[in-house]
Symmetry: C2
Subunit: 323 residues, 2 copies
């Protein structure tokens, strides 16, 4: 297969929000598929997808979208994936690969698998990528470049189907890994779900504290708070479903987080500077590790833009210190 040959003939996207519409754009730009059929639950979104020309065809129903597809990707909040599988089950082409993009895998497998016929290849997946924006306008083709896509193929899944799905994600710029749904849910509970829950919490806490006004919170948010507001601006429906469907792993991580927070709280209360310093020096190393493996920018402050000094006169030359 030539490097640029399509990997699938026809891709059907069930859902065209940030992730679905990014897949559409990336699949098109990279030539990963020949044709794209897309659908969305609301007529407004379907119309917008047509306006943006994100797909060759916009279908009105999930069933109609998948009829000709040899790759179907379900890109909707995980709480709806069972219903979507039920919609499409009877309409899938034999031999088609059925996948998803959900942030939780065990629950998705349990919800979708019973509705899928024999003769299709069900390979759940999770591209670990996103932004705080939602909807078909928010997507972009580069979203998956250098991010990881985790596949959780059930035991006995056709190897060729897995290889083709992996090739599809690689064509979109992603790295591909695979693991069990249970391990995925544990890993993501700590790298994604807990951080989101904590961010949602602290942003709420700041907003409810009566001795500090909301405008003060916004005004002085550059002290650190604003970083949390980005994550806490993520799609509410998607995240409600994540916490409801990955409850056990999230609660376990929360328990551990609370223990650690108690330790640091006690160190502050007791004025144990050495203990605080050691903890803070240790976590600095983890940031370096993430930057080193290319999972975040080395630029300070995430590379946020900084405006230039307003109307600065030409810099005057400095006296050399050696003079």
């Amino acid at each position: 297969m030539s490097k640029d040959a399509p990997i699938f003939e026809c891709l059907a996207l069930i859902g065209t929000g940030l992730i679905g519409s990014s897949i559409a754009r990336a699949a098109r730009e990279s030539g990963a598929v020949k044709t794209i059929v897309a659908t969305a639950r609301s007529e407004t979104t379907r119309r917008r997808v047509a306006e943006l020309r994100l797909a060759d065809k916009v279908a009105d129903t999930n069933a109609a979208a998948v009829e000709d597809a040899d790759l179907v990707i379900v890109c909707i909040p995980v709480g709806q994936s069972g219903a979507a599988a039920k919609d499409i089950g009877a309409h899938l082409k034999p031999g088609a690969v059925i996948s998803d993009v959900g942030s939780v895998k065990s629950a998705v497998v349990a919800d979708m698998a019973p509705h899928l016929p024999k003769g299709v290849h069900f390979i759940p997946a999770h591209p670990v990528a996103g932004t705080e924006h939602s909807g078909p306008d928010a997507g972009f083709a580069e979203l998956f470049v250098n991010r990881w896509c985790i596949l959780t193929p059930p035991e006995g899944t056709d190897r060729d189907a897995v290889a083709r799905l992996a090739a599809f994600w690689r064509r979109l710029g992603a790295n591909v890994d695979s693991m069990s749904p249970e391990h995925h849910d544990l890993v993501l509970a700590i790298t994604s779900h807990l951080p989101h829950l904590i961010a949602y919490t602290i942003v709420g806490t700041a907003d409810e504290f009566s001795n500090v006004t909301r405008s003060e919170v916004l005004q002085f948010s550059a002290g650190g708070f604003r970083d949390f507001t980005r994550i806490a601006a993520s799609d509410p429906t998607m995240w409600r479903d994540v916490f409801l469907t990955n409850k056990d792993a999230v609660l376990e991580m929360l328990g551990r987080f609370n223990e650690d927070l108690s330790v640091l709280t006690r160190a502050i209360r007791n004025g144990e500077g050495e203990k605080l310093f050691e903890h803070f020096a240790h976590t600095r190393a983890i940031r370096r590790g993430i930057v080193e493996i290319g999972q975040d920018s080395a630029a300070p402050d995430f590379g946020r833009p900084h405006a230039r000094l307003p109307d600065a006169p030409l810099p005057r030359p400095y006296a050399s210190n050696d003079d």
Copy 2:
């Protein structure tokens, strides 16, 4: 006074880390002062400051640095500000403005004020700006543009001195506000100190969880975790001092945060989707407020750079949906 005339003749910087060296660069670029004298505790840093030509003169001691200064800014971890004030107290020029950049104000006032002579103007300040990097190489002239600098002048402070310090910060691109040290410490506890403590905690939690390896945590950090690692990479000495010196306000905010986290935890445990959704939809609005007042970028993902699709063929034209 012409817009571009220097606001102070001679600026002395006690400490030349991220903030001190950014002030040096910005004061130079903007012409806010005529000359800059800088010092640092370690000889290595002083040598580096000289190499970088951040100042007209690098002094070996705090006392020597301030002799000719009519503006002195102490830019060191807040736990050391009392000792610095003691060093410089007897060497200050009458009429000089003495300020600082500490993230905590009540403790700094208590520590510094007793060592400062009558006849100088002590005006504590806090520019709410920074990055996760430290040291004289990390500074840049644009750091304060469109950020807020909070002044906490004691009652009865000379108005002209306050106006000149405010003009200095505005020349560096900052907005200037003023409030009491106590209120500052409360506002910053929620907008800066609590977020840092939470980030330091969660990054530690992730690193100690034995069922998920560190390399998995790093690899899949783009799911949200990596955002926290930036803040948790901030200078350990600075942050140790912040928590030790703003203990009461931080412990109060921690208590409130814990209450809110318990509410969300219970909602997850009980499967209360509606309650989660409402909370998550509410916090989204706070992000919008921050972007609207220009305290963060509207670009998705903080404007992090996204690599292009590798070797993508030319995009093929799409069939129109109307055909």
